[in-house]
């Protein structure tokens, strides 16, 4: 029983985050004040949204390096729509963002499913293509704050029960996807496909189609985040969220998602994102140059993947009776 608890990567990570917070609190108690923690959560919300999508993709033995570019393209498109038609209701903008993101995700998914192209190649390619398209449609220009309508900028900041809508969206996504992953056929199919594609075929699951849905979900979340990002920072240009895909993958790896597929959870993705969010927000507080952030998240990825690998190391087949835990 103890073994199973310790094997739970989520518990371990939660402990690490708590320890980190405690360490910071010893010198900067203000950091762990509820209002500041809420701020950290809100700041991490986009990472949480993308990490959930990425987690599902990695679960099926794929990887989506195009999420940040998808976010940027969707963000630019909705920003330009807002400039062209300032009166368009935010509900419509939101739907456009999700649909466009979904569509871009489907492109990745189709290339992986129908043409059987390795996901890393597909998404490295679409990553550059999406960025290039932003340049083409925007002509390299910025959409600035003063060009955006007030309503367009207001949504993520609007406070509801003490938390901004951005935070609520992240919370809703965590809850919805926790349910989807645990209690729907599609959710379980993601685990099956990543755990053993061969066996999944035998149980009647179409591996390629399941991967397609993973990319679609990842795209939809990236599209949603695209609007939220552009609206929150009130600016859109070619390079927004540049390199953010690496943070997203990092959040997943830190959250215990196995790159080999089949292992991962929404809770893990959430905690992995929060871990990075806490570090990012704590650096200026503890007076470390923000230039340290890149190296720290890189180290976190390496340490996390090493720890995960140790836990999952192939121990050999269980043949000796003494090695079995049947009942």
């Amino acid at each position: 029983m103890l073994k199973r608890l310790l094997a739970s990567r989520e518990i371990l990570l939660l402990g690490a985050i708590m320890a980190l917070l405690a360490l910071i609190a010893t010198r900067f108690p203000g950091f762990v004040a509820p209002s500041n923690l809420a701020g950290v959560f809100n700041d991490t919300a986009p990472l949480i949204l993308l990490a959930i999508g990425q987690m599902i993709v990695i679960l099926t033995r794929c990887i989506d390096l195009s999420v940040a570019a998808n976010l940027a393209l969707t963000g630019m498109v909705v920003a330009m729509i807002n400039v062209a038609a300032p009166g368009m209701p935010i509900g419509v903008i939101l739907i456009v963002a999700i649909l466009l993101g979904t569509l871009l995700g489907m492109v990745n998914g189709l290339l992986v499913w129908k043409l059987d192209i390795p996901p890393i190649v597909v998404t490295l390619g679409t990553m550059t293509i999406f960025r290039g398209i932003i340049f083409l449609i925007s002509d390299g220009k910025w959409v600035n704050s003063h060009e955006m309508s007030a309503a367009f900028k207001a949504l993520p900041r609007t406070e509801l029960l003490g938390l901004p809508v951005l935070s609520w969206i992240a919370i809703a996504a965590v809850l919805i996807f926790a349910l989807v992953m645990r209690r729907t056929t599609l959710g379980r199919a993601f685990y099956a496909v990543g755990g053993s594609p061969h066996s999944a075929t035998y149980t009647g699951i179409n591996v390629g189609r399941t991967q397609f849905w993973a990319f679609t979900i990842s795209g939809a979340l990236a599209g949603l985040t695209g609007y939220l990002w552009v609206s929150r920072y009130a600016v859109a240009y070619v390079d927004i969220a540049g390199g953010f895909e690496l943070d997203v993958v990092a959040a997943c790896v830190i959250g215990g998602v196995s790159i080999a597929g089949g292992i991962g959870s929404v809770a893990g993705a959430l905690l992995g994102a929060l871990f990075l969010g806490v570090i990012k927000n704590a650096l200026p507080v503890v007076d470390i140059s923000p230039f340290w952030q890149l190296a720290i998240s890189g180290s976190a990825i390496i340490i996390a993947v090493a720890v995960n690998a140790r836990a999952n190391r192939e121990k050999g087949r269980i043949i000796l009776k003494s090695a079995e835990h049947a009942a």
Binding site: L179, R182, R183, T184, T185, R188, Y191, A192, G195, S196, H198, S199, T201, Y202, T203, G204, I205, N206, G262, I263, K315, G316, R317, I318, I319, L320, K321, A323, E324, H325, A326, A327
Partner: protein, 512 residues
């Protein structure tokens, strides 16, 4: 068909009209590049009856199972359900038609719980169509208890041993309310007690009117529970009928197309001095306390149930598994073997069971496969010498009578038997002292099988020490000078001479 047994009972049974088959194959053909796996085969499964599907490895049994369960689609002929033609595009279509299978390779998910492994794809749903985990675990428990398995449905599958994994696979097949149950070697890894429970289960399924297709290599088993038989050879139907009308000898004759006694070469036994000594091999989960000696010119058989730890031990001996402990002495000298490269340098080579993944590099040409462990000899200062490589390849493939279009042909395009010859040639080219052959004739045709046996005898006669892992009793009996039986990761017995009988082998392997 054979109609010699004319007892009253048989006459009475023969007189009863056959019920209509639930499931049938009519003139089904399935081709793969270069191989006709099934040609025009017929198969009928009747309600309340067990039909045994019999044939050698490579006869097409697995292809039939995969065709019936929607993994493969036939290239010709029809699948008939209640007499009506049906097409199964996926495994789900076959399940919907009431067909379920316990596959030979237990197709299960290590990271998921036992309950989910049983119910994946057809889990009980609660409100809003969401999966009801509590109900799923309850049902799983019920099915597991029903087959006498003591397994906690919440345990992750990776924590189970091979016999329990098989039981989970059986539970999965039973969790689908099927009319047709296919059992592909269900008892291969089970102990005596578990097998008895499986038989009871089969009886109860029969009583419920289910049609059962039972695939097995064990004749005692087939004669005990089957009502009918169908025999395949080289992808063709060679006979079918009632079990009551045939003898074991009849079935074997149909299976191999000639008398069995001819298969094994008579060899002159010239056993020399001791070459290999193994002491105290241990592994945390796979095997414990393995020790034996081996002499030049000797063929030492390793027998046991599937999953008894034989291959795992051989891979440790060959330096693949690093977590094991133990001492290896070659020609009396202590040898530290930490990798296959070390093993090869010390004169131990291993022909693995899994040819496609471990034995050969199927996308590379024959000559590159053969010279891979011998590149040091064929090259000069680290630079390749192709002429030398072709020469070495030709030397050893000729000895094995390899059939191929050219030595530059990819190994993957060869038949199973010829692939095996390439793997053996690769190892002989290293001029080893000890050769380990793991299920050397599994999945290869009769002709190649005899060639491999003959060659094995020739190697022993030349003074090579041979270890042969095999699950086939005739092969073990026909080839070995001495046999070690393994059970659950330990040596259960060492048999030679008069102690070496089919009964003693089975008894020690199953732990009766």
């Amino acid at each position: 068909m054979l109609m010699h047994a004319e007892t009253a009972a048989h006459a009475a049974r023969a007189a009863a009209p056959d019920p209509a088959p639930i499931l049938a194959l009519a003139k089904v053909t399935k081709e793969f590049p270069g191989v006709k796996a099934l040609s025009d085969v017929d198969l009928r499964l009747y309600p309340g009856q067990v039909t045994a599907l019999i044939g050698e490895n490579g006869a097409g049994k697995s292809t039939v199972v995969k065709t019936l369960t929607g993994i493969y689609q036939p290239d010709g002929g029809e699948i008939l359900v209640d007499g009506a033609p049906r097409r199964f595009a996926t495994a789900q279509d076959a399940a919907a038609a009431g067909i379920t299978a316990i596959h030979q390779e237990t197709v299960l998910f290590d990271e998921l719980s036992v309950a989910e492994n049983i119910f994946l794809g057809h889990a009980p749903r609660g409100r809003f169509g969401l999966i009801d985990w509590a109900e799923m675990e309850r049902c799983a428990e019920e099915i597991l208890v029903g087959i006498g398995a003591q397994i906690d449905p919440k345990v992750r599958l990776r924590d189970l041993g091979i016999a329990n994994r098989h039981l989970v696979a059986i539970a999965r097949a039973l969790s689908i309310d099927a009319r047709v149950v296919i059992m592909d070697e269900p008892t291969a890894a089970l102990s005596h007690k578990e097998i008895e429970e499986l038989y009871e289960l089969v009886e109860s399924l029969k009583a419920k009117g289910k049609a059962i297709l039972f695939i097995s290599h064990k004749f005692d088993e087939i004669f005990r529970i089957a009502d009918r038989f169908t025999v395949f050879r080289d992808g063709q139907l060679v006979g079918d009928g009632r079990m009551a009308d045939v003898t074991e000898a009849d079935l074997v004759k149909m299976m191999v197309g000639r008398d069995v006694s001819q298969i094994f070469p008579n060899r002159e036994r010239r056993i020399g001095e001791e070459v290999l000594q193994v002491v105290g091999y241990d592994h945390p989960t796979e095997f414990a306390d393995i020790g034996f000696t081996l002499r030049r010119g000797e063929i030492l058989g390793f027998y046991g149930l599937v999953g008894a730890g034989r291959s795992e031990f051989m891979q440790a001996l060959f330096g693949i598994t690093k977590t094991s402990k133990g001492i290896t002495k070659i020609d009396g000298r202590l040898s530290a073997i930490r990798s296959p490269a070390d093993a090869i340098e010390n004169g131990i080579v291993y022909v693995p069971e899994d040819r496609g993944r471990q034995g050969a590099i199927t996308d590379l040409p024959i000559f590159q496969n053969v010279t891979l462990p011998s590149l040091k000899r064929t090259s000069k200062n680290g630079f390749l010498r192709l002429a030398e490589e072709f020469r070495l390849t030709r030397e050893y493939t000729t000895r094995l009578d390899l059939r191929a279009a050219s030595l530059d042909t990819n190994v993957g395009s060869l038949s199973g038997g010829n692939q095996q010859k390439v793997v053996i040639a690769k190892w002989l080219a290293t001029q080893p002292k000890v050769i380990i052959l793991d299920e050397p004739t599994k999945g290869i045709d009769i002709g190649s099988k005899a060639a491999v046996h003959e060659f094995m005898a020739e190697l022993a006669a030349q003074g090579l020490a041979v270890i042969m892992v095999s699950s086939e009793i005739p092969e073990i009996l026909g080839m070995s000078d001495r046999v070690i039986v393994m059970r659950e990761g330990r040596i259960a017995a060492e048999l030679a001479g008069e102690d070496l009988t089919p009964e003693t082998l089975v008894r020690h392997a199953a732990g009766i």
